[in-house]
Assembly symmetry: C2
Homo-oligomer: 212 residues x 2
Amino acid sequence: MNSFTNRIPDAAVRRFSLYLRYLEDFERSGIRNVASGVLAERGGTTAAQVRKDLSFLGSFGKRGLGYSVAELTGVLRGVLGLDSVWRVALLGAGRIGTALFRYEPFRARGFHITTVIDNDPGKIGTRLGDVTIRGEHELESALQDDRTDLVIVAVPAAVAQALVDRVVAAGIRAVLNYAPTQLRLPGDVALRNVSMMVELESLSHALARLRR
Amino acid sequence: MNSFTNRIPDAAVRRFSLYLRYLEDFERSGIRNVASGVLAERGGTTAAQVRKDLSFLGSFGKRGLGYSVAELTGVLRGVLGLDSVWRVALLGAGRIGTALFRYEPFRARGFHITTVIDNDPGKIGTRLGDVTIRGEHELESALQDDRTDLVIVAVPAAVAQALVDRVVAAGIRAVLNYAPTQLRLPGDVALRNVSMMVELESLSHALARLRR
DNA sequence: GAGTGTGAAGCAGTTCACAGCG
DNA sequence: CGCTGTGAACTGCTTCACACTC
């Protein structure tokens, strides 16, 4: 039942990433079938949660046996959009931007950083890996020429919003934000935030509670 | 009512980080009072959400006027544990670890990276900023000597779990994980994950849906 | 009057429990 | 017999609505 017609809860989608990671491990180890409980154990959830999550995608488990690792891997890749290559633009070639650029798993998963933008005159025209860094004034033309699907924001908070407004105006529909600010953008643009400070402060809160 | 006796929802705590950021902006701009609606607008939530969140901390808003920026800033700093300095150990001095080490806002917020561990013999004994990189075999003694409160994990997934087990055994109660794996650890240890791939794949899912 | 504080209602994600299939 | 798939119960966060106060 319930093929991929309906919306899938965001929390479930994020767990799919984890499941996929573990399935790939299992595949490498030559394991051919896996039960919900095993996946749960590995991913820090419960068996019921795993089954419920997977039920959003259809029902292809085998009762008494579990799920085919190969089949499930394929389904998850498909639903996560990992069967196509996504063209990514990186805004900001500072320390964080550079570390992201060189992060191997991105490319392995089909995310190709084809465009790098920075406004430091000393960087414009230099290369990061196989990509030439371009200036901010070239933003729109670069996004268009490179047929960008997705933008990673790694610029200082103060300039992030203005830049993202231009990115959205240029038709981009997915933004991954590393800048420590809450970006405001239209509802039809997908936004995910990766915030070092928020997570760290949440830990700090937990520690402060313990200490009392 | 409802002082800081009760547990505060995690979602609210994460929003506190955002509110605090904006309050600090307001403070710099010389704004002395702020209404829930203003904070909501800035942080991408609703006024009701802001008031509900703040009500977990007590009630010190002024009806008809809003909240005192200075007072609220102080309260949030306190509840987030930002009024003390936290001593942080960084595991892994690779590209991501190095970028994190140099990330200025950490220090500004009272998170001091006092310890850096890496198992690359070429790195051990060299310096990262003002800290000397130490080998993995010194992990326990380093955590103890440096009175570490919190550990940031920035090592490859394959070695993360084993290292964290030792960290937990050494008495650390808060872990920020950048490794692309789900760490398994006791319930009394606070864990937060910062995952590049999970967020990116969630965007990829959103894009794939759009495209259909 | 403007804006807080908060019970109550609404909604979403999680867990339970069990029928049903391989 | 083991393990899936799923409605039903539950839990917890969010939104609403309004009495209350500065």
